[in-house]
């Protein structure tokens, strides 16, 4: 009999007075994590535990460190520590010409490098008063939407893995790989694309690109439907995500959330529609908005955004005009190699651009673009020289992450992982 008792003790938290195992109900209420968290009684005076998660931990999505105060399994307080990947990009930018900053933008949000390139180039162009060509505008839309797709695919895959679903991860990363092939075809790089230049693009798209991207847009929705079929009505997924990490509309606004996080809380604000850039107002797309502001709604919003990005990509491919990619201004755009080597004037312009850089007029400009993570703002202040006085990145995932302590309070430790995943952080951008 003793042996049997030991087995039971291992399987259950304890025995009651009669020696029978105390049964713990597997679900409380049965409608989701929020209620579970509400019903776990916090004993007054009970001992709290300090738990350190990270900075090296697979579920923190990078070098994020969370110090968690726990009462049993309930998170009483969560203190995030960031800065482990701080590289001083903003300081470096003050010592670089505008075009030399573009490679730095790759490395901030390295899951959507092309969109960062576009954000910086737009701000520099607005500062200098440059109007880009129609073909360049459409190419940049393509770059932004491709970035949105790969960023959301990474988010979907890693979040699903955090919550125990392995298969969508493989599907999502396969799709991402196909976009990476296209990026490589266009820029020669998979991750550090540096695709834009002030006043244009690093290169026009190669011949096979349009065919490749069109094939992607035709086949990509199938994967999305498969992911939708596996997760959206999956009992485990729903149980782990609904009513977890809820931020109401007013709280989301007050915490300066942006992007899918803000829209999942019911605020229909999308910079592409409400403060258009790159002629986004001429594209036909919907802005998905959530209702409850929980992890599940963030998932739904991001999944739908992938469909909408796919629509935008198709429209952009259909309207892609011919013509030059770069503006016709020798002070901004480098002459071709052959011209620089054969034409005196072109050589002078080449020399001046490389040695002195492109000078921006005195003033400042802020451009916010709708990045996959949220509003990526680029704020440039110039004193008339070729290097900015101040280059500020408004980092969407940094600001979204700052609401994590608020969201995690009162939830179970395992829900903290789901909530942290739902923020969609990338530490390169949080720490810059």
């Amino acid at each position: 009999m003793n042996k049997r008792t030991v087995e039971l003790e291992l399987a259950t938290p304890g025995l009651d007075a009669q020696g029978r195992p105390v049964r713990v109900p597997l679900t409380v209420g049965g409608t989701g994590g929020g209620e579970v968290a509400g019903q776990v009684a916090v004993e007054p005076g009970s001992e709290h535990m300090l738990l350190n998660i990270g900075p090296q931990h697979p579920a923190t999505h990078g070098v994020l460190r969370l110090v968690v105060e726990l009462d049993g399994e309930v998170v009483v307080r969560c203190i995030p520590h960031v800065g482990y990947l701080h590289s001083g990009f903003e300081k470096l930018g003050e010592y670089r010409h505008y075009n030399q900053i573009i490679p730095l933008t790759d490395r901030t949000d390295y899951l959507s490098p092309m969109a960062n390139n576009v954000g910086f180039a737009l701000a520099a162009e607005r500062l200098m008063g440059i109007a880009i060509t129609p073909r360049c505008t459409v190419l940049r839309v393509i770059a932004c939407e491709m970035s949105r797709v790969i960023s959301h695919m990474v988010w979907l895959g890693t979040t699903a893995i955090d919550l125990g679903a392995f298969t969508p991860f493989l599907w999502a990363f396969q799709e991402r790989e196909r976009i990476y092939d296209l990026q490589e075809m266009w820029t020669g790089a998979r991750l550090t694309t540096s695709v834009t230049r002030v006043g244009g693009m690093m290169a026009d798209i190669p011949d096979a690109f349009v065919t490749g991207l069109r094939h992607f847009t035709e086949t990509f929705p199938k994967t999305l439907h498969e992911i939708d079929g596996v997760l959206t009505r999956n009992a485990v997924w729903v149980g782990r995500t609904q009513n977890v990490g809820v931020l109401r509309r007013e709280e989301a606004i007050n915490h300066s959330l942006s992007g899918p996080m803000l829209r999942a809380s019911g605020v229909a604000y999308d910079l592409r529609r409400d403060k258009p850039y790159l002629d986004y107002e001429t594209y036909d797309f919907d802005v998905p908005v959530g209702e409850h502001g929980d992890v599940y709604d963030r998932y739904l919003v991001r999944l739908e955004e992938c469909h909408q990005s796919n629509r935008i990509l198709q429209q952009a491919l259909a309207r892609l005009p011919d013509g030059p990619v770069n503006v016709d201004d020798p002070r901004v755009i480098l002459p071709s190699k052959s011209r620089a080597m054969s034409d005196m004037e072109a050589m002078i312009y080449h020399f001046k651009q490389v040695m002195e850089g492109v000078k921006a007029p005195v003033g400042e400009a802020y451009v916010g673009i709708e990045n996959p993570k949220g509003e990526l703002g680029t704020y440039l202040v110039s004193d008339g020289s070729a290097k900015p006085v101040r280059w500020r990145i408004r980092p969407p995932s940094f600001i979204n992450l700052s609401s994590l302590p608020k969201m995690a309070e009162g939830h179970l430790l395992s829900d903290l992982i789901a909530i942290n995943a739902s923020v969609d952080i990338v530490m390169g951008e949080v720490d810059r």
Binding site: H48, I79, V82, N254, S256, G363, R432
Partner: protein
């Protein structure tokens, strides 16, 4: 020019300084530092303006050493889809301090900490003003100030020496150790080292 500027002038008078339109078409209005808290509250709460969303808080230091450091607040009305940029001049010869807006927008919490970390501007009334991107014992100064050299103040050898000599317990802040009520249970020598202030002042030692 954003019409809110005229309304601000009518309400706050001399506290509102110059207003210009930036190269990106947004209006910049300069506000006296003592009025900042009230101006921001008015911008957020008054009907017809309703700048309910704080986009960003940052600071700018110019290469011209005479120019004051500028604090920049980007506010937005989500309803009306209108942006406004509010600036506060902080002359360098005076104390670099201004009222915190965390009470108005919770999103300002980390943004103000970052400005404090990078520029050394103190935000009065911030609930938890400590460094955020640099570590708490970072002693080289404020990295985004113009007098801060690109490679840092200390030599690489000194930086490595400090990193190797850092206390492992310094990875937890005093606040965190207090949460766990762990401070009392630390070994005496560790407590002594913490008291000696390699991590700055203890919040409860005064």
């Amino acid at each position: 020019m954003n019409p809110s500027v005229d309304a601000l002038r009518a309400t706050f008078g001399n506290a509102i300084g110059r207003a210009v339109v930036a190269r990106d078409g947004e209006t910049i209005v300069t506000v006296g530092r003592d009025a900042l808290g009230e101006v921001m509250r008015w911008l957020r709460d008054s009907a017809g303006h309703c700048y309910d969303y704080l986009v960003d808080v940052t600071a700018v230091e110019y290469r011209d050493a005479e120019r004051p450091i500028e604090l920049v607040y980007f506010v937005r009305s989500l309803e009306r889809r209108v942006d406004l940029r509010v600036k506060v001049d902080l002359p360098k010869e005076q104390e670099l301090a201004v009222d915190s807006v965390v009470g108005l927008w919770a999103g300002a919490d980390w943004l103000e900490r970052e400005v404090y970390d990078m520029f050394g501007v103190t935000f009065r009334g911030h609930p938890d003003l400590r460094r955020i991107l640099m570590w708490e014992t970072y002693a080289e100064g404020y990295p985004l100030r113009k007098d801060f050299p690109l490679r840092g103040r200390f030599s690489r050898a000194e930086q490595v020496r400090q990193a190797l000599g850092a206390n492992p317990e310094a990875h937890y802040s005093m606040e965190e150790l207090a949460i766990a009520e762990a401070f009392d249970e630390l070994p005496e020598d560790m407590k002594e080292r913490l008291r000696r202030g390699e991590r700055g002042k203890l919040p409860f030692s005064e």
